[in-house]
Protein backbone atom coordinates (compact mmCIF):
# COMPACT_ATOMS: atom_id res chain seq x y z
CA UNK A 1 0.00 0.00 0.00
CA UNK A 2 2.75 2.44 1.01
CA UNK A 3 4.74 1.77 -2.13
CA UNK A 4 1.70 2.15 -4.31
CA UNK A 5 0.82 5.49 -2.75
CA UNK A 6 4.39 6.77 -3.10
CA UNK A 7 4.55 5.82 -6.79
CA UNK A 8 1.15 7.35 -7.42
CA UNK A 9 2.14 10.53 -5.57
CA UNK A 10 5.40 10.81 -7.52
CA UNK A 11 3.53 10.34 -10.81
CA UNK A 12 1.14 13.14 -9.88
CA UNK A 13 4.02 15.49 -9.09
CA UNK A 14 5.59 14.77 -12.51
CA UNK A 15 2.23 15.33 -14.19
CA UNK A 16 1.71 18.59 -12.29
CA UNK A 17 5.13 19.91 -13.35
CA UNK A 18 4.63 18.90 -16.99
CA UNK A 19 1.10 20.32 -17.08
CA UNK A 20 2.26 23.63 -15.57
CA UNK A 21 4.98 23.76 -18.25
CA UNK A 22 2.35 23.26 -20.94
CA UNK A 23 0.28 26.12 -19.51
CA UNK A 24 3.36 28.33 -19.15
CA UNK A 25 4.47 27.74 -22.74
CA UNK A 26 0.88 27.95 -24.01
CA UNK A 27 0.38 31.38 -22.45
CA UNK A 28 3.53 32.60 -24.22
CA UNK A 29 2.02 31.48 -27.53
CA UNK A 30 -0.94 33.82 -27.07
CA UNK A 31 -0.99 36.55 -29.72
CA UNK A 32 -0.06 40.07 -28.66
CA UNK A 33 2.74 41.48 -26.52
CA UNK A 34 1.64 41.75 -22.87
CA UNK A 35 4.18 44.51 -22.19
CA UNK A 36 2.84 46.53 -25.12
CA UNK A 37 -0.72 46.03 -23.88
CA UNK A 38 0.31 47.25 -20.43
CA UNK A 39 2.38 50.25 -21.62
CA UNK A 40 -0.03 51.38 -24.32
CA UNK A 41 0.45 51.87 -28.05
CA UNK A 42 2.24 55.24 -27.72
CA UNK A 43 4.96 54.01 -25.37
CA UNK A 44 8.55 54.87 -26.26
CA UNK A 45 10.99 51.98 -26.65
CA UNK A 46 12.51 52.97 -23.27
CA UNK A 47 9.13 52.86 -21.52
CA UNK A 48 8.38 49.55 -23.14
CA UNK A 49 11.71 48.15 -21.96
CA UNK A 50 10.99 49.43 -18.45
CA UNK A 51 7.56 47.75 -18.40
CA UNK A 52 9.09 44.59 -19.76
CA UNK A 53 11.73 44.58 -17.02
CA UNK A 54 9.04 45.34 -14.46
CA UNK A 55 6.97 42.34 -15.61
CA UNK A 56 10.08 40.15 -15.61
CA UNK A 57 9.79 39.49 -19.35
CA UNK A 58 13.49 40.28 -19.92
CA UNK A 59 14.52 37.41 -17.65
CA UNK A 60 15.54 33.99 -19.00
CA UNK A 61 12.61 31.62 -19.53
CA UNK A 62 13.64 29.40 -16.61
CA UNK A 63 13.55 32.36 -14.20
CA UNK A 64 10.19 33.39 -15.63
CA UNK A 65 8.84 29.89 -15.12
CA UNK A 66 10.02 29.80 -11.51
CA UNK A 67 8.40 33.17 -10.87
CA UNK A 68 5.22 31.84 -12.47
CA UNK A 69 5.24 28.81 -10.14
CA UNK A 70 5.98 31.02 -7.12
CA UNK A 71 3.09 33.36 -7.95
CA UNK A 72 0.77 30.44 -8.45
CA UNK A 73 1.62 29.01 -5.05
CA UNK A 74 1.04 32.37 -3.35
CA UNK A 75 -2.31 32.62 -5.14
CA UNK A 76 -1.21 35.65 -7.13
CA UNK A 77 -2.63 35.39 -10.67
CA UNK A 78 -2.32 39.07 -11.54
CA UNK A 79 -5.20 41.30 -12.55
CA UNK A 80 -7.87 40.97 -15.19
CA UNK A 81 -6.85 43.10 -18.16
CA UNK A 82 -10.50 43.85 -18.80
CA UNK A 83 -11.73 45.05 -15.41
CA UNK A 84 -8.52 45.46 -13.39
CA UNK A 85 -9.95 43.24 -10.63
CA UNK A 86 -7.47 40.80 -9.07
CA UNK A 87 -8.00 37.39 -10.69
CA UNK A 88 -8.06 35.73 -7.26
CA UNK A 89 -11.10 37.82 -6.36
CA UNK A 90 -12.91 36.87 -9.57
CA UNK A 91 -12.25 33.21 -8.86
CA UNK A 92 -13.39 33.49 -5.25
CA UNK A 93 -16.77 34.82 -6.36
CA UNK A 94 -17.39 32.43 -9.26
CA UNK A 95 -15.90 29.13 -8.10
CA UNK A 96 -18.45 28.41 -5.32
CA UNK A 97 -21.30 28.54 -7.87
CA UNK A 98 -19.64 25.86 -9.98
CA UNK A 99 -18.69 23.74 -6.97
CA UNK A 100 -22.26 23.74 -5.65
CA UNK A 101 -23.61 22.91 -9.09
CA UNK A 102 -21.13 20.06 -9.64
CA UNK A 103 -21.56 18.58 -6.16
CA UNK A 104 -25.33 18.66 -6.52
CA UNK A 105 -25.07 17.07 -9.99
CA UNK A 106 -22.81 14.28 -8.69
CA UNK A 107 -25.26 13.49 -5.88
CA UNK A 108 -28.17 13.48 -8.33
CA UNK A 109 -26.23 11.26 -10.75
CA UNK A 110 -25.23 8.74 -8.08
CA UNK A 111 -28.76 8.47 -6.68
CA UNK A 112 -30.44 8.12 -10.10
CA UNK A 113 -27.66 5.95 -11.55
CA UNK A 114 -27.61 3.42 -8.71
CA UNK A 115 -31.40 3.39 -8.41
CA UNK A 116 -31.86 2.66 -12.11
CA UNK A 117 -28.97 0.18 -12.07
CA UNK A 118 -30.57 -1.78 -9.24
CA UNK A 119 -33.99 -1.62 -10.92
CA UNK A 120 -32.51 -2.88 -14.19
CA UNK A 121 -30.87 -5.83 -12.42
CA UNK A 122 -33.85 -6.60 -10.14
CA UNK A 123 -36.35 -6.63 -13.01
CA UNK A 124 -34.25 -8.23 -15.72
CA UNK A 125 -36.17 -8.95 -18.90
CA UNK A 126 -39.21 -6.99 -17.78
CA UNK A 127 -40.37 -3.46 -18.58
CA UNK A 128 -38.56 -1.62 -15.73
CA UNK A 129 -35.26 -2.81 -17.20
CA UNK A 130 -36.20 -1.51 -20.62
CA UNK A 131 -37.12 1.87 -19.15
CA UNK A 132 -33.80 2.03 -17.32
CA UNK A 133 -31.89 0.96 -20.45
CA UNK A 134 -33.71 3.50 -22.60
CA UNK A 135 -32.81 6.16 -20.03
CA UNK A 136 -29.14 5.17 -20.21
CA UNK A 137 -29.10 5.21 -24.01
CA UNK A 138 -30.78 8.63 -24.11
CA UNK A 139 -28.45 9.95 -21.43
CA UNK A 140 -25.44 8.89 -23.47
CA UNK A 141 -26.64 9.94 -26.91
CA UNK A 142 -28.43 13.19 -26.20
CA UNK A 143 -26.22 16.23 -25.63
CA UNK A 144 -27.02 17.59 -22.19
CA UNK A 145 -27.11 21.21 -23.34
CA UNK A 146 -29.96 20.33 -25.63
CA UNK A 147 -31.74 18.61 -22.73
CA UNK A 148 -31.13 21.84 -20.81
CA UNK A 149 -32.83 23.95 -23.47
CA UNK A 150 -35.79 21.54 -23.60
CA UNK A 151 -36.01 21.51 -19.80
CA UNK A 152 -36.16 25.31 -19.70
CA UNK A 153 -38.83 25.26 -22.38
CA UNK A 154 -41.08 22.62 -20.79
CA UNK A 155 -40.27 22.29 -17.08
CA UNK A 156 -39.45 25.92 -16.36
CA UNK A 157 -41.61 27.95 -18.72
CA UNK A 158 -44.57 25.75 -19.73
CA UNK A 159 -45.06 23.94 -16.41
CA UNK A 160 -43.45 26.57 -14.19
CA UNK A 161 -41.92 24.00 -11.80
CA UNK A 162 -38.46 25.52 -11.74
CA UNK A 163 -36.93 28.93 -12.38
CA UNK A 164 -35.52 29.18 -15.93
CA UNK A 165 -32.36 30.96 -14.86
CA UNK A 166 -30.70 32.81 -12.02
CA UNK A 167 -28.66 31.98 -8.95
CA UNK A 168 -29.20 32.40 -5.22
CA UNK A 169 -26.24 31.92 -2.90
CA UNK A 170 -26.66 28.48 -1.33
CA UNK A 171 -25.02 29.43 1.97
CA UNK A 172 -27.13 32.51 2.65
CA UNK A 173 -30.42 30.90 1.58
CA UNK A 174 -29.96 27.11 1.29
CA UNK A 175 -33.52 26.21 0.29
CA UNK A 176 -33.93 28.78 -2.45
CA UNK A 177 -30.31 28.28 -3.51
CA UNK A 178 -30.77 24.54 -4.03
CA UNK A 179 -34.15 25.10 -5.65
CA UNK A 180 -32.54 27.38 -8.25
CA UNK A 181 -29.79 24.80 -8.83
CA UNK A 182 -32.07 21.76 -9.11
CA UNK A 183 -32.81 21.93 -12.83
CA UNK A 184 -29.17 22.72 -13.81
CA UNK A 185 -27.93 19.88 -11.56
CA UNK A 186 -30.43 17.42 -13.08
CA UNK A 187 -29.27 18.38 -16.57
CA UNK A 188 -25.58 18.24 -15.71
CA UNK A 189 -26.02 14.93 -13.87
CA UNK A 190 -27.92 13.05 -16.61
CA UNK A 191 -24.91 11.89 -18.61
CA UNK A 192 -23.04 10.83 -15.48
CA UNK A 193 -26.16 9.04 -14.19
CA UNK A 194 -26.37 7.07 -17.43
CA UNK A 195 -22.76 5.91 -17.17
CA UNK A 196 -23.16 5.02 -13.48
CA UNK A 197 -26.36 3.12 -14.25
CA UNK A 198 -24.72 1.00 -16.96
CA UNK A 199 -21.72 0.21 -14.79
CA UNK A 200 -23.79 -0.49 -11.68
CA UNK A 201 -25.92 -2.90 -13.65
CA UNK A 202 -22.90 -4.67 -15.13
CA UNK A 203 -21.21 -4.96 -11.74
CA UNK A 204 -24.45 -6.21 -10.13
CA UNK A 205 -24.89 -8.89 -12.75
CA UNK A 206 -21.29 -9.95 -12.17
CA UNK A 207 -21.70 -10.05 -8.40
CA UNK A 208 -25.00 -11.91 -8.52
CA UNK A 209 -23.42 -14.80 -10.41
CA UNK A 210 -20.52 -15.29 -7.98
CA UNK A 211 -20.26 -18.34 -5.75
CA UNK A 212 -20.55 -16.42 -2.50
CA UNK A 213 -23.84 -14.93 -3.59
CA UNK A 214 -25.07 -18.40 -4.53
CA UNK A 215 -24.04 -19.59 -1.07
CA UNK A 216 -25.83 -16.69 0.59
CA UNK A 217 -28.94 -17.44 -1.45
CA UNK A 218 -28.69 -21.12 -0.61
CA UNK A 219 -28.60 -20.24 3.06
CA UNK A 220 -31.95 -18.54 2.59
CA UNK A 221 -31.03 -14.88 2.22
CA UNK A 222 -33.63 -13.12 0.04
CA UNK A 223 -32.75 -11.84 -3.41
CA UNK A 224 -33.40 -8.22 -2.43
CA UNK A 225 -31.20 -8.56 0.67
CA UNK A 226 -28.33 -10.03 -1.36
CA UNK A 227 -28.69 -7.28 -3.92
CA UNK A 228 -28.28 -4.59 -1.28
CA UNK A 229 -25.67 -6.30 0.88
CA UNK A 230 -23.32 -7.65 -1.82
CA UNK A 231 -24.34 -6.08 -5.12
CA UNK A 232 -24.52 -2.50 -3.90
CA UNK A 233 -21.32 -2.69 -1.91
CA UNK A 234 -19.36 -3.84 -4.94
CA UNK A 235 -20.95 -1.31 -7.22
CA UNK A 236 -19.84 1.50 -4.91
CA UNK A 237 -16.25 0.81 -5.94
CA UNK A 238 -17.33 1.19 -9.54
CA UNK A 239 -19.13 4.43 -8.78
CA UNK A 240 -16.03 5.96 -7.16
CA UNK A 241 -13.99 5.16 -10.28
CA UNK A 242 -16.63 6.39 -12.69
CA UNK A 243 -17.08 9.71 -10.92
CA UNK A 244 -13.31 10.18 -10.99
CA UNK A 245 -13.05 9.29 -14.67
CA UNK A 246 -15.97 11.50 -15.64
CA UNK A 247 -14.78 14.63 -13.82
CA UNK A 248 -13.28 16.10 -16.99
CA UNK A 249 -16.62 15.71 -18.72
CA UNK A 250 -18.34 17.17 -15.69
CA UNK A 251 -16.17 20.30 -15.85
CA UNK A 252 -16.99 20.78 -19.54
CA UNK A 253 -20.65 20.08 -18.80
CA UNK A 254 -20.69 22.64 -16.00
CA UNK A 255 -19.42 25.35 -18.35
CA UNK A 256 -22.28 24.71 -20.79
CA UNK A 257 -24.89 24.30 -18.08
CA UNK A 258 -23.89 27.65 -16.59
CA UNK A 259 -24.20 29.21 -20.00
CA UNK A 260 -27.71 27.82 -20.57
CA UNK A 261 -29.08 28.72 -17.14
CA UNK A 262 -27.17 32.01 -16.92
CA UNK A 263 -25.33 31.02 -13.74
CA UNK A 264 -22.50 33.37 -12.68
CA UNK A 265 -19.93 30.58 -12.27
CA UNK A 266 -16.45 29.55 -13.27
CA UNK A 267 -17.60 28.58 -16.76
CA UNK A 268 -18.97 32.04 -17.44
CA UNK A 269 -15.70 33.53 -16.19
CA UNK A 270 -13.78 31.25 -18.58
CA UNK A 271 -15.90 32.01 -21.63
CA UNK A 272 -15.94 35.76 -20.97
CA UNK A 273 -12.15 35.67 -20.62
CA UNK A 274 -11.70 33.84 -23.95
CA UNK A 275 -13.96 36.20 -25.86
CA UNK A 276 -12.35 39.33 -24.39
CA UNK A 277 -8.79 37.91 -24.60
CA UNK A 278 -8.33 38.40 -20.87
CA UNK A 279 -5.10 36.39 -20.68
CA UNK A 280 -4.36 36.50 -16.91
CA UNK A 281 -7.84 35.09 -16.27
CA UNK A 282 -7.46 32.40 -18.96
CA UNK A 283 -4.12 31.34 -17.52
CA UNK A 284 -5.50 31.16 -13.97
CA UNK A 285 -8.62 29.27 -15.02
CA UNK A 286 -6.73 26.70 -17.08
CA UNK A 287 -4.17 26.21 -14.32
CA UNK A 288 -6.76 25.84 -11.55
CA UNK A 289 -8.91 23.38 -13.47
CA UNK A 290 -5.88 21.30 -14.49
CA UNK A 291 -4.30 21.21 -11.04
CA UNK A 292 -7.54 20.39 -9.28
CA UNK A 293 -8.28 17.73 -11.87
CA UNK A 294 -4.91 16.04 -11.25
CA UNK A 295 -5.34 16.27 -7.47
CA UNK A 296 -8.89 14.92 -7.56
CA UNK A 297 -7.77 12.00 -9.69
CA UNK A 298 -5.02 11.30 -7.17
CA UNK A 299 -7.60 11.39 -4.38
CA UNK A 300 -9.87 9.05 -6.34
CA UNK A 301 -7.00 6.60 -6.87
CA UNK A 302 -6.17 6.63 -3.16
CA UNK A 303 -9.80 6.18 -2.24
CA UNK A 304 -10.05 3.40 -4.78
CA UNK A 305 -7.07 1.58 -3.29
CA UNK A 306 -8.75 1.85 0.12
CA UNK A 307 -12.06 0.33 -0.99
CA UNK A 308 -10.51 -2.22 -3.36
CA UNK A 309 -7.84 -4.36 -1.70
CA UNK A 310 -6.81 -5.96 -5.02
CA UNK A 311 -5.08 -2.72 -6.11
CA UNK A 312 -3.09 -2.43 -2.89
CA UNK A 313 -1.61 -5.89 -3.24
CA UNK A 314 -0.95 -5.39 -6.95
CA UNK A 315 1.55 -2.62 -6.27
CA UNK A 316 2.47 0.13 -8.67
CA UNK A 317 1.36 -1.65 -11.80
Amino acid sequence: MGRYLLTRLWQSVVTLVLASLVVFIGVRQLPGDPALAMAGEEATPEQLAAVRADMGLDQPLVTQYLAFVRNTFSGDFGESTRTGTPVTELIATTLPVTLWLSAYAIVVAIVIGILFGVIAERFRGRWPEWVANAFALVGLSVPNFWLGILAILYLAVTLGWFPASGYVDVLSDPLRGLYYLTLPALILGTGLAAVIMRQTRASMIETMTTDYVRTARAKGLGRGRVLVRYGLRNSLIVVVTIVGLQLGGLISGAVVTERIFALPGFGKLTLDAVFTRDYPVIQAVVLIITVSYILINLAVDILYSVVNPKIRVGGAN
Binding site: G26, G248, L271, V274, V286
Partner: protein, 296 residues
Protein backbone atom coordinates in the same frame (compact mmCIF):
# COMPACT_ATOMS: atom_id res chain seq x y z
CA UNK B 1 -12.90 -7.65 -28.09
CA UNK B 2 -10.36 -10.30 -28.82
CA UNK B 3 -9.74 -11.61 -32.30
CA UNK B 4 -8.89 -15.29 -32.39
CA UNK B 5 -5.21 -16.04 -32.46
CA UNK B 6 -4.25 -16.52 -36.05
CA UNK B 7 -1.55 -18.78 -37.42
CA UNK B 8 1.56 -16.90 -38.54
CA UNK B 9 0.71 -17.19 -42.24
CA UNK B 10 -2.54 -15.39 -41.81
CA UNK B 11 -1.01 -12.74 -39.60
CA UNK B 12 -1.87 -9.99 -42.03
CA UNK B 13 -5.51 -10.88 -42.30
CA UNK B 14 -6.91 -10.03 -38.88
CA UNK B 15 -10.29 -9.12 -40.28
CA UNK B 16 -10.33 -11.39 -43.29
CA UNK B 17 -10.58 -14.87 -41.89
CA UNK B 18 -13.37 -14.03 -39.47
CA UNK B 19 -15.29 -11.93 -41.93
CA UNK B 20 -18.07 -14.42 -42.46
CA UNK B 21 -18.63 -14.87 -38.75
CA UNK B 22 -18.55 -11.11 -38.13
CA UNK B 23 -21.04 -10.36 -40.90
CA UNK B 24 -23.36 -13.11 -39.74
CA UNK B 25 -23.18 -11.84 -36.15
CA UNK B 26 -24.02 -8.32 -37.33
CA UNK B 27 -26.87 -9.61 -39.47
CA UNK B 28 -28.49 -11.30 -36.49
CA UNK B 29 -28.31 -8.30 -34.21
CA UNK B 30 -31.46 -6.17 -34.65
CA UNK B 31 -30.07 -3.20 -32.73
CA UNK B 32 -26.91 -3.35 -34.81
CA UNK B 33 -28.90 -3.41 -38.04
CA UNK B 34 -30.94 -0.41 -36.85
CA UNK B 35 -27.72 1.39 -36.00
CA UNK B 36 -26.19 0.48 -39.35
CA UNK B 37 -29.20 1.74 -41.29
CA UNK B 38 -29.25 4.97 -39.27
CA UNK B 39 -25.53 5.33 -39.86
CA UNK B 40 -25.89 5.00 -43.63
CA UNK B 41 -28.79 7.48 -43.60
CA UNK B 42 -26.85 10.03 -41.54
CA UNK B 43 -23.70 9.75 -43.64
CA UNK B 44 -25.69 10.02 -46.87
CA UNK B 45 -27.55 13.05 -45.50
CA UNK B 46 -24.24 14.71 -44.72
CA UNK B 47 -22.49 13.79 -47.97
CA UNK B 48 -25.42 14.64 -50.21
CA UNK B 49 -26.37 17.82 -48.33
CA UNK B 50 -25.68 20.05 -51.37
CA UNK B 51 -28.03 17.89 -53.49
CA UNK B 52 -30.73 17.27 -50.87
CA UNK B 53 -31.00 20.74 -49.37
CA UNK B 54 -33.77 22.82 -50.96
CA UNK B 55 -31.89 26.09 -50.25
CA UNK B 56 -28.40 27.28 -49.49
CA UNK B 57 -27.90 27.07 -45.70
CA UNK B 58 -27.16 30.79 -45.46
CA UNK B 59 -29.91 31.99 -47.81
CA UNK B 60 -32.09 34.44 -45.83
CA UNK B 61 -35.80 35.08 -46.42
CA UNK B 62 -36.56 38.18 -44.38
CA UNK B 63 -40.22 38.09 -45.30
CA UNK B 64 -40.77 34.61 -43.83
CA UNK B 65 -38.98 34.26 -40.47
CA UNK B 66 -40.13 31.83 -37.74
CA UNK B 67 -42.16 29.63 -40.10
CA UNK B 68 -43.62 26.56 -38.43
CA UNK B 69 -42.61 23.08 -39.65
CA UNK B 70 -44.54 21.74 -42.66
CA UNK B 71 -44.98 25.23 -44.05
CA UNK B 72 -45.08 25.24 -47.80
CA UNK B 73 -41.55 25.46 -49.18
CA UNK B 74 -39.97 24.97 -45.73
CA UNK B 75 -40.49 21.36 -44.52
CA UNK B 76 -38.99 22.05 -41.06
CA UNK B 77 -39.77 25.77 -40.92
CA UNK B 78 -37.41 28.72 -40.83
CA UNK B 79 -35.28 30.47 -38.19
CA UNK B 80 -35.09 34.11 -37.09
CA UNK B 81 -33.56 35.19 -40.42
CA UNK B 82 -35.94 33.08 -42.46
CA UNK B 83 -33.25 30.54 -43.28
CA UNK B 84 -34.53 27.07 -44.13
CA UNK B 85 -33.99 24.81 -41.11
CA UNK B 86 -33.89 21.59 -43.15
CA UNK B 87 -31.07 22.92 -45.34
CA UNK B 88 -29.10 24.16 -42.35
CA UNK B 89 -29.66 20.83 -40.62
CA UNK B 90 -28.26 18.84 -43.56
CA UNK B 91 -25.17 21.04 -43.85
CA UNK B 92 -24.84 21.02 -40.07
CA UNK B 93 -24.75 17.20 -40.12
CA UNK B 94 -22.03 17.46 -42.77
CA UNK B 95 -19.97 19.74 -40.49
CA UNK B 96 -20.50 17.43 -37.49
CA UNK B 97 -19.32 14.40 -39.45
CA UNK B 98 -16.35 16.36 -40.83
CA UNK B 99 -15.16 17.30 -37.34
CA UNK B 100 -15.89 13.79 -36.09
CA UNK B 101 -13.85 12.13 -38.85
CA UNK B 102 -10.98 14.59 -38.45
CA UNK B 103 -10.71 14.00 -34.71
CA UNK B 104 -10.99 10.23 -35.13
CA UNK B 105 -8.17 10.38 -37.70
CA UNK B 106 -6.04 12.47 -35.35
CA UNK B 107 -6.61 10.04 -32.47
CA UNK B 108 -5.90 6.99 -34.66
CA UNK B 109 -2.84 8.40 -36.43
CA UNK B 110 -1.16 9.53 -33.21
CA UNK B 111 -2.65 7.01 -30.77
CA UNK B 112 -1.94 3.82 -32.75
CA UNK B 113 1.87 4.09 -33.13
CA UNK B 114 2.25 5.34 -29.55
CA UNK B 115 0.06 2.50 -28.30
CA UNK B 116 2.11 -0.05 -30.26
CA UNK B 117 5.37 1.34 -28.85
CA UNK B 118 4.02 1.49 -25.30
CA UNK B 119 2.79 -2.08 -25.52
CA UNK B 120 5.96 -3.39 -27.07
CA UNK B 121 8.71 -1.73 -25.06
CA UNK B 122 8.76 -1.00 -21.34
CA UNK B 123 11.04 2.00 -21.80
CA UNK B 124 8.65 3.72 -24.20
CA UNK B 125 5.76 2.69 -21.96
CA UNK B 126 7.04 4.80 -19.04
CA UNK B 127 7.54 7.90 -21.21
CA UNK B 128 4.27 7.53 -23.07
CA UNK B 129 2.21 6.99 -19.95
CA UNK B 130 3.58 10.25 -18.48
CA UNK B 131 2.58 12.04 -21.70
CA UNK B 132 -0.84 10.42 -21.48
CA UNK B 133 -1.22 11.60 -17.89
CA UNK B 134 -0.42 15.16 -18.91
CA UNK B 135 -2.94 15.05 -21.76
CA UNK B 136 -5.56 13.60 -19.44
CA UNK B 137 -4.91 16.47 -17.01
CA UNK B 138 -6.53 18.85 -19.52
CA UNK B 139 -10.28 18.36 -19.99
CA UNK B 140 -11.11 18.73 -23.70
CA UNK B 141 -12.93 21.97 -23.11
CA UNK B 142 -9.78 23.45 -21.58
CA UNK B 143 -7.73 22.32 -24.61
CA UNK B 144 -10.35 23.96 -26.80
CA UNK B 145 -10.27 27.13 -24.67
CA UNK B 146 -6.47 27.23 -25.01
CA UNK B 147 -6.48 26.68 -28.78
CA UNK B 148 -9.25 29.23 -29.27
CA UNK B 149 -7.28 31.76 -27.21
CA UNK B 150 -4.09 31.14 -29.18
CA UNK B 151 -5.34 31.01 -32.76
CA UNK B 152 -9.03 31.83 -32.65
CA UNK B 153 -11.99 29.45 -32.69
CA UNK B 154 -12.37 27.39 -35.88
CA UNK B 155 -13.45 24.03 -37.26
CA UNK B 156 -9.83 22.84 -37.34
CA UNK B 157 -9.13 23.85 -33.76
CA UNK B 158 -12.31 22.15 -32.56
CA UNK B 159 -11.30 18.94 -34.33
CA UNK B 160 -7.76 19.14 -32.92
CA UNK B 161 -8.99 19.72 -29.36
CA UNK B 162 -11.45 16.82 -29.61
CA UNK B 163 -8.86 14.56 -31.25
CA UNK B 164 -6.13 15.31 -28.69
CA UNK B 165 -8.53 14.56 -25.86
CA UNK B 166 -9.19 11.11 -27.38
CA UNK B 167 -5.54 10.15 -27.94
CA UNK B 168 -4.99 8.75 -24.40
CA UNK B 169 -7.87 6.27 -24.67
CA UNK B 170 -6.72 5.22 -28.13
CA UNK B 171 -3.20 4.65 -26.80
CA UNK B 172 -4.61 2.59 -23.93
CA UNK B 173 -6.70 0.43 -26.26
CA UNK B 174 -3.85 -0.26 -28.71
CA UNK B 175 -1.37 -0.79 -25.86
CA UNK B 176 -3.68 -3.37 -24.28
CA UNK B 177 -4.10 -5.19 -27.58
CA UNK B 178 -0.34 -5.14 -28.21
CA UNK B 179 0.40 -6.57 -24.76
CA UNK B 180 -2.04 -9.37 -25.46
CA UNK B 181 -1.01 -10.14 -29.03
CA UNK B 182 2.74 -10.07 -28.44
CA UNK B 183 2.35 -13.02 -26.06
CA UNK B 184 0.69 -15.17 -28.71
CA UNK B 185 2.40 -18.13 -30.34
CA UNK B 186 2.64 -16.68 -33.82
CA UNK B 187 4.55 -13.65 -32.54
CA UNK B 188 6.86 -15.97 -30.64
CA UNK B 189 7.26 -17.90 -33.88
CA UNK B 190 8.11 -14.75 -35.81
CA UNK B 191 10.60 -13.79 -33.13
CA UNK B 192 12.40 -17.12 -33.31
CA UNK B 193 12.73 -16.52 -37.04
CA UNK B 194 14.57 -13.30 -36.16
CA UNK B 195 11.89 -10.90 -37.30
CA UNK B 196 12.62 -7.29 -36.33
CA UNK B 197 10.36 -5.59 -33.74
CA UNK B 198 9.14 -3.14 -36.40
CA UNK B 199 8.19 -6.04 -38.69
CA UNK B 200 6.39 -7.84 -35.87
CA UNK B 201 4.48 -4.73 -34.85
CA UNK B 202 3.40 -3.80 -38.35
CA UNK B 203 2.89 -7.26 -39.81
CA UNK B 204 1.55 -9.22 -36.84
CA UNK B 205 0.38 -6.97 -34.02
CA UNK B 206 -1.24 -4.10 -35.92
CA UNK B 207 -3.51 -6.22 -38.16
CA UNK B 208 -4.80 -8.09 -35.14
CA UNK B 209 -5.41 -4.87 -33.24
CA UNK B 210 -7.45 -3.42 -36.12
CA UNK B 211 -10.82 -4.55 -34.80
CA UNK B 212 -10.19 -2.91 -31.43
CA UNK B 213 -9.13 0.29 -33.17
CA UNK B 214 -12.26 0.30 -35.34
CA UNK B 215 -14.50 -0.25 -32.32
CA UNK B 216 -12.74 2.56 -30.48
CA UNK B 217 -13.27 4.81 -33.50
CA UNK B 218 -17.03 4.21 -33.27
CA UNK B 219 -16.79 5.21 -29.61
CA UNK B 220 -14.89 8.42 -30.43
CA UNK B 221 -17.25 9.54 -33.22
CA UNK B 222 -20.32 10.32 -31.07
CA UNK B 223 -18.15 11.95 -28.41
CA UNK B 224 -16.61 14.18 -31.07
CA UNK B 225 -19.99 15.00 -32.64
CA UNK B 226 -21.42 16.07 -29.28
CA UNK B 227 -18.16 17.87 -28.52
CA UNK B 228 -18.30 19.84 -31.77
CA UNK B 229 -21.90 20.87 -31.11
CA UNK B 230 -20.95 21.86 -27.57
CA UNK B 231 -17.94 23.94 -28.65
CA UNK B 232 -19.90 25.63 -31.42
CA UNK B 233 -22.77 26.26 -29.00
CA UNK B 234 -20.33 28.09 -26.73
CA UNK B 235 -18.78 30.00 -29.65
CA UNK B 236 -15.47 28.12 -29.37
CA UNK B 237 -15.96 25.91 -32.43
CA UNK B 238 -17.35 26.45 -35.91
CA UNK B 239 -17.82 30.10 -36.78
CA UNK B 240 -20.83 31.44 -38.69
CA UNK B 241 -21.75 31.45 -41.53
CA UNK B 242 -20.62 27.78 -41.65
CA UNK B 243 -23.73 25.89 -40.49
CA UNK B 244 -23.30 23.78 -37.36
CA UNK B 245 -25.87 21.99 -35.22
CA UNK B 246 -24.38 23.65 -32.13
CA UNK B 247 -24.69 27.15 -33.57
CA UNK B 248 -28.28 26.39 -34.61
CA UNK B 249 -29.05 25.43 -31.00
CA UNK B 250 -27.40 28.51 -29.56
CA UNK B 251 -29.30 30.74 -32.03
CA UNK B 252 -32.53 28.91 -31.31
CA UNK B 253 -32.18 29.38 -27.55
CA UNK B 254 -32.49 33.14 -28.04
CA UNK B 255 -35.92 32.94 -29.65
CA UNK B 256 -37.03 29.64 -28.15
CA UNK B 257 -40.46 30.93 -27.14
CA UNK B 258 -41.27 32.18 -30.62
CA UNK B 259 -40.09 29.05 -32.46
CA UNK B 260 -39.42 26.08 -30.18
CA UNK B 261 -39.13 23.74 -33.18
CA UNK B 262 -35.90 25.49 -34.25
CA UNK B 263 -34.31 24.23 -31.03
CA UNK B 264 -35.73 20.73 -31.32
CA UNK B 265 -34.55 19.56 -34.74
CA UNK B 266 -30.77 20.16 -34.32
CA UNK B 267 -30.87 18.28 -31.01
CA UNK B 268 -32.68 15.35 -32.61
CA UNK B 269 -30.08 15.31 -35.39
CA UNK B 270 -27.18 15.19 -32.89
CA UNK B 271 -28.92 12.47 -30.89
CA UNK B 272 -29.58 10.39 -34.04
CA UNK B 273 -25.95 10.61 -35.17
CA UNK B 274 -24.73 9.54 -31.73
CA UNK B 275 -27.33 6.81 -31.37
CA UNK B 276 -26.36 5.43 -34.79
CA UNK B 277 -22.69 5.21 -33.85
CA UNK B 278 -23.40 3.88 -30.34
CA UNK B 279 -25.71 1.12 -31.58
CA UNK B 280 -23.51 0.15 -34.51
CA UNK B 281 -20.37 0.29 -32.34
CA UNK B 282 -21.95 -1.99 -29.71
CA UNK B 283 -22.95 -4.49 -32.40
CA UNK B 284 -19.50 -4.33 -33.95
CA UNK B 285 -17.91 -4.98 -30.56
CA UNK B 286 -20.11 -8.05 -30.09
CA UNK B 287 -19.38 -9.23 -33.63
CA UNK B 288 -15.62 -8.94 -33.18
CA UNK B 289 -15.75 -10.82 -29.89
CA UNK B 290 -15.13 -14.52 -30.58
CA UNK B 291 -16.39 -15.49 -27.11
CA UNK B 292 -19.76 -14.15 -28.11
CA UNK B 293 -20.66 -16.68 -30.81
CA UNK B 294 -23.82 -17.87 -29.07
CA UNK B 295 -25.46 -14.48 -29.42
CA UNK B 296 -28.48 -14.55 -31.69
Amino acid sequence: MAVETLPPKAGGAGLGSGRGRILSSLRHNPLGITGGIMLVAVVLAGLLAPLLAPYSPSEVHFDTPFQRPLTEGFPLGTDDLGRDILSRLLFGIQTSLQVGVLSVLLAVVIGTPLGLLAGYSRGFDAVISRLTDVTLAFPFLIIAVGLAAISGPSLGNAAIALGIAQIPTMIRVVRGETLRIKESDFVLGARTMDASPTWIMLRHVLPNATSAIIVQATVIMPVAVIGEALLSFLGLGIQPPTPSLGIMLSDAQQYIFRAPSAAIFPGIAIALICLAFNLFGDALRDAFDPTNTTRK
